[in-house]
Symmetry: C2
Subunit: 344 residues, 2 copies
C-alpha cells in the first residue's frame, strides 16, 4: 500500500523507505544527448516490456506521457513523490509508468533512460529492493542494459555508476531538530557516506522536520551492503529521536501537549496558511500522533494532509474560484481534518 | 441585567458604564481614622437603611461581611467588578451589599464610608445615575451625610470632593490600540480632564485592549455636566474605533478573519494559557463577535470568558486537583466555549 495511507515498521519516526535504480539501454545515447527517435523508442520499449510481460505485475501499471499531462497533473505526481522534479522539468521527452497502489513508478527519459522507484511505508528497504529486482528483470529480459562487467550499470551521471541504486529513508525528527542535536548528527552522517536532504530530495531544504537520508556511494558495494549500512544508521537515528522524545515528555508533558493541541486548533480554524507554517504545524501534529497525545487523527490523515497541502493538489482539488493558495490551503486542510476526525 | 450577560447601547465597542458615588456619614471619622465601634456602626447603619427601607429595592440586596468571606470569594467580587481592590484589601473592616442582578453594589468602609456603584451593559451612564440617586436618597433619609453647602459631599480623598461621583466607561479598542492611534488620543483625553485606566481601574494596566475612561474632576460641575462631557468623548472614541475597523476590514478582511478564527481555535484547544495571552486572544475574539466575523459565540460568552478566566473564578470553579492556574484556565475556557457554541 502507498506510504501515504499506511504505517510501516518504525512508523513512529520513519515515514517511508525508497529504493531507486538507474538503468540505461545499450546502444542508445543518454537522454540529454538523444534525438526524438531515440526518445520515443526508449518510451515505447519500456512500455512494451512492462505491458506485454507475462508477469501479473504488468497489469498493475498505468502509462502516462508527461507532455500530455497538464502542469498541475505533472505537479501532483511530483508531490506524491512518484515522479522526480527532473522528470517534470524534461516533460517534453519523458514518460512514467505508475502502479495502481502508487508504490512503484518507472520514470522514462529522466536523467537516465529508466529510473525504477519503489516507496513503501516505514522502514522496508529490502522489500522495496525485492520488488524492483523483479521489475528490473522483466525489463532487462526485453531490453539490453548498458552494463560494464567492471563498473556495473552505466549511468548518465557518474555518481550513480555501479549499482545505480539510491536507497533513502524519510524520517520525522522534530525533537532532534529543535534541541539542536541534528547539526552534530549531520556532520557524522556525512563522514560515513550518508547524505541528508529535504522532502523533495536533491537540492530541497528540510521542512517540517522531515529529513531524507540516503547512500552517497553506488559503486564498490553491493545493494545489500548499502541497505544494510543504511539500516544501522536509520535505527540509530530512530533510537536517538525516541530517547529525545521520552526526555521531552518527562520534562514537560503539559507544554508538549499544549503545543500539539494548539497546532490542531490552528489547523482546524485558520483562514489563511502559507506552506512553511503548514509544514511546521504538521510536524507538531505528527509528533502528537506518534507520541499518542493527539487522538483525533491518525498517521494516514497526517500523510494525506502533507500531500494535500502542496500547491498542485490545492490547485487540483481546492476551490478554483479562489486565487490565493494560502486561503485554499487553510480551507482544504480544515475540511480534511474535520472529515477524518476519529471518535475517542 | 448585569453587563456580563447583556449587550447595551453602543455595545460593539462599549462593554459597560459605571457610576460610583462616594459618601460619608456626618460626625464619624473617615474609615482610615475610625475605631471598631465606628466601623460597625457604619456597617449596621447602611445595612439597616437598605434592608429596612420601604422601597422594593431593599429586598434586592444581599449583605456580605468581607471578613467572613474566603479569600477566593472576595477575589470573585473584585473580578466581577462589584467590589474594588481596596474593599478587598481592607476586608477586616469592610462589608458590601450586592443586588441579585449584580448591577449595583454598596461598598461600606472602603476609602469612604459608603461607595455606591452601578454597572450597566453598554453606554448607559444616565440610567446608572438615576438608579444610584434612588439608593442614595434611601440611605440619606436614614443617615445624615457629611455635606458642605460650598464644597458638596465631603470625601476621604480630596479628588472625590463635590459630587463624589466617578463615571466610567469600559471600551474595547483593539484596532485603535494596534494601529498606534491610542497614544495621541490618550494625550488629548488627559488635556480635557478624562482619565484612562485598565480593566481594574486605578493603577491597573490596560490588558486585552480594554480601556476604562472616566472623569478626572468631581468638583465645580454637576453630575449631569460630567456625564454629558463623557458622553461626547465616548461617542467620538467609538466612532474612531468603528472607522478604524471598517478600514481594517476593507484593507484585508481575510487576515482579520484568519486572526479571529485562529484565536478561537487556540482557545478551544490550548492546554495551558497565561492571563496575558488569554486577554489578547479574548480581545481578538471579541472583535470577531463585534464585527460579525465570529458566529460561533456571542458577546455574553466573551464576557463570561473574561470573568471566568481570572484567578479567583478559576480557583473557585476550576479543577481543584490541578495546581497550575494556566492549565486550569485552558480547561475552563475550552469547556465554556464548547458549551456555548451557537448553531449557525
Amino acid at each position: 500500500m502507498s506510504w501515504i495511507n499506511d504505517i510501516g515498521p518504525l512508523g513512529d519516526v520513519v515515514l517511508s523507505s525508497r529504493i531507486r535504480l538507474a538503468r540505461n539501454l545499450a546502444d542508445i545515447p543518454f537522454p540529454q544527448a538523444m534525438d526524438k527517435i531515440d526518445r520515443d523508442s526508449v518510451i515505447h520499449g519500456v512500455y512494451r516490456s512492462i505491458a506485454g510481460s507475462d508477469s501479473p505485475i504488468g497489469e498493475e501499471f498505468q502509462f502516462l506521457s508527461m507532455k500530455d499531462l497538464s502542469h498541475v497533473d505533472r505537479q501532483i505526481l511530483v508531490e506524491k513523490h512518484l515522479a522526480s522534479p527532473d522528470l517534470m522539468k524534461y516533460h517534453e521527452r519523458s514518460a512514467i509508468l505508475v502502479n495502481w497502489q502508487e508504490e512503484c513508478s518507472i520514470m522514462i527519459n529522466e536523467e537516465d533512460h529508466i529510473r525504477l522507484q519503489c516507496i513503501l511505508p516505514g522502514y522496508q528497504l529490502k522489500r522495496g529492493l525485492d520488488y524492483l529486482d523483479n521489475i528490473d528483470d522483466i525489463i532487462e529480459a526485453q531490453l539490453p542494459y548498458a552494463f560494464d562487467p567492471n563498473l556495473g550499470y552505466l549511468t548518465s551521471c557518474p555518481t550513480n555508476l555501479g549499482t545505480g541504486m539510491r536507497a533513502s529513508i524519510m524520517l520525522h525528527l522534530p525533537i532532534l531538530a529543535t534541541t539542536g542535536q541534528m547539526k552534530a548528527m549531520l556532520q557524522t552522517l556525512a563522514k560515513i557516506g550518508v547524505t541528508v536532504r529535504g522532502l523533495y530530495g536533491e537540492g530541497s531544504e528540510v521542512m517540517g522536520d522531515i529529513y531524507q537520508i540516503s547512500n552517497q556511494i553506488t559503486l564498490g558495494a553491493s545493494e545489500e551492503e548499502i541497505i544494510s549500512n543504511l539500516e544501522i544508521v536509520t535505527k540509530q537515528i530512530v533510537q536517538k529521536e525516541k530517547q529525545a522524545r521520552q526526555l521531552a515528555l518527562a520534562g514537560s508533558r503539559i507544554h508538549l501537549e499544549d503545543e500539539i493541541w494548539r497546532a490542531y486548533g490552528t489547523m482546524l480554524h485558520a483562514r489563511c496558511m502559507d506552506f512553511n507554517e503548514f509544514m511546521e504545524l504538521l510536524s507538531t501534529l505528527r509528533l502528537g500522533v506518534e507520541t499518542g497525545i493527539m487522538t483525533k487523527i491518525d498517521i494516514k490523515t497526517i500523510n494525506r494532509l502533507m500531500i494535500m497541502g502542496q500547491p498542485g493538489h490545492l490547485r487540483k482539488y481546492g476551490d478554483k474560484t479562489i486565487g490565493d493558495l494560502d486561503i485554499i490551503r487553510a480551507e482544504v486542510i480544515s475540511k480534511l481534518l474535520r472529515s477524518t476526525e476519529l471518535e475517542n
